[in-house]
Symmetry: C2
């Protein structure tokens, strides 16, 4: 129900097998791109995902290794004759950065709209035309050297549909699907709300992207119960915790500790420093703390599904 593809896992400079930071999320035929470092287009092609219909680009902060893929992506969307608006969100300073990026990208065939995410999250149904799920995108503050934030994508799962209740209320069969999806049904002047025919809401899905951040409480709070989290794990060594904090990053162990404290199901480590040649050499440092820590790599993908 949510597909996540890790496009780039490098920090600072791109490497042949490690593009700069970018994570692609798709759900219900729509998509969000988290960060867009140089090389994101190529990484997406390698991973077999198309960025052309991305609805929202959510930037964690404006360091070059997270945004320099944007002018090229904007131009490629132009060359594909995109007309749908593209929303771009990010922390404080978005308008200025977007202004510079758009100057470089030049004339486009579609509007690029700075998007502000409400404190309680942006409900995507209604916001993205044609998106019919109860999903929300929210942002949370992180601790980097510049204004920064992480993102949380949640997909709610309606309660079980109770056909006997729909029947009793006289809802025509063709409107059942609407109610199952959490939309109201109207017929013969009667309005039936989903909660009248659905059981208690069931556990949904949650994805968290940390962006660049030091170990911090807001990351743990935002990640509570996430099915999957992609975290900054710039440094591999346990002895680099202080260095990581100083630079507004985490090491493998700190990322694992945050994921454990938040009760995350699975953690993908990412944003590796150039010093890390082989991330798996350091995995033990995370796995000792949190066994469901995985070394992210370009193209790693997962399908998050509702529990049976």
């Amino acid at each position: 129900m949510i597909d996540i593809t890790l496009l780039g896992t490098s920090a600072l400079a791109p490497l042949p097998e490690r593009a700069l930071t970018s994570v692609f999320l798709s759900c219900g035929g729509h998509s969000i791109l988290f960060d867009c470092g140089e090389g994101t287009q190529t990484a997406a092609r390698k991973a077999g995902v198309s960025l052309m219909k991305t609805d929202i680009i959510a930037l964690s902060h404006y360091h070059g290794d997270h945004i320099f893929g944007l002018p090229g992506l904007l131009q490629t969307m132009l060359s594909m004759n995109r007309t749908e608006p593209l929303y771009v969100t990010g922390p404080e300073g978005l308008r200025e950065v977007l202004f510079d990026l758009l100057r470089l990208a030049g004339m486009l065939s579609y509007p690029v709209i700075p998007l502000s995410i409400p404190d309680n999250g942006l409900c995507l149904r209604g916001f993205i035309p044609g998106f019919r799920f109860d999903a929300a995108l929210s942002a949370f503050p992180t601790e980097h050297r510049v204004p920064s934030r992480g993102y949380c994508f949640t997909l709610s799962r309606p309660g079980k549909f109770m056909p006997e209740k729909a029947k009793a209320l006289g809802v025509p069969l063709k409107l059942w699907n609407q109610l199952q999806k959490g939309e109201k049904a109207e017929f013969d002047g009667v309005t039936v709300l989903p909660e009248q025919v659905l059981g208690k809401p069931r556990k949904g899905l949650k994805f968290v992207f940390s962006g660049d951040t030091a170990y911090c409480g807001s990351l743990i709070d935002a990640s509570r119960g996430a099915d999957l989290a992609v975290y900054d794990a710039t440094y591999g060594e346990n002895g680099q915790a202080e260095l990581a904090t100083e630079h507004g990053h985490m090491n493998f162990a700190q990322a694992a500790d945050a994921a454990k404290k938040a009760g995350v199901k699975q953690l993908w480590l990412s944003h590796y420093s150039q010093m890390i040649q082989e991330p798996s050499d350091y995995l033990q440092n995370a796995a000792e703390i949190f066994e469901n820590a995985v070394c992210g790599h370009d193209g790693l993908s997962a399908e998050l599904k509702f529990e049976e």
Copy 2:
């Protein structure tokens, strides 16, 4: 004596095995980068060349697929603590584009200097500190949809050194090397010029980069007798000549025809449209006209040497 590495051969959008346009030239421990599309850094790493000490970046024009690798490269040079000035040259409009690129790149540890190339070429000895060869970089107008130009790099070869003349003039042995390289020698108040001890200048080396251009006389004129030329060959089919011209590009056959007319020794075709999946499928269209046409590919390199 001149090393050329083709870094990227794609037009418009990058592909996993085809980065956007960029050609790296190195000579005498110094280097020039022609164009810098997104992904140039990664392409250079794959090709095993370092861009960190590049002296001049020569842009053919300012379409995104030729310049969007610059902000990232500038930042990587910063992260390597570069302090030497970096010169950037290009056609009309350079200052404005550079302004936008530098705004994105942010604070740097070295000056980025817009460079104007004189009509008769820029003599690199003296201009690049420590560069001791008789080499020149010149620009020539091309025909694209925006202000554009190609570049020509020539390395002169002094005449044969005649030791008997040096001896007769009393030049101390330790100054012979200087004279051989085309520099004057001074000793005991005497000045000996290279032409006094050297034979007639011998055939040097010449490299030409077309940038994006339609078939045009200025390209042929600038390419006369080049040892190697990298040409725009956006389209593969012979039937696409008119389309190519309309878009300010060449097809394989036009590129081959220009190289043949210019008496180029070897031609590398490049800047392939996304329509071209396998450039070698179209090579025949060029080879029928000019047998020394080669399909360029990312990482293709050559060492141009003086004739024996």
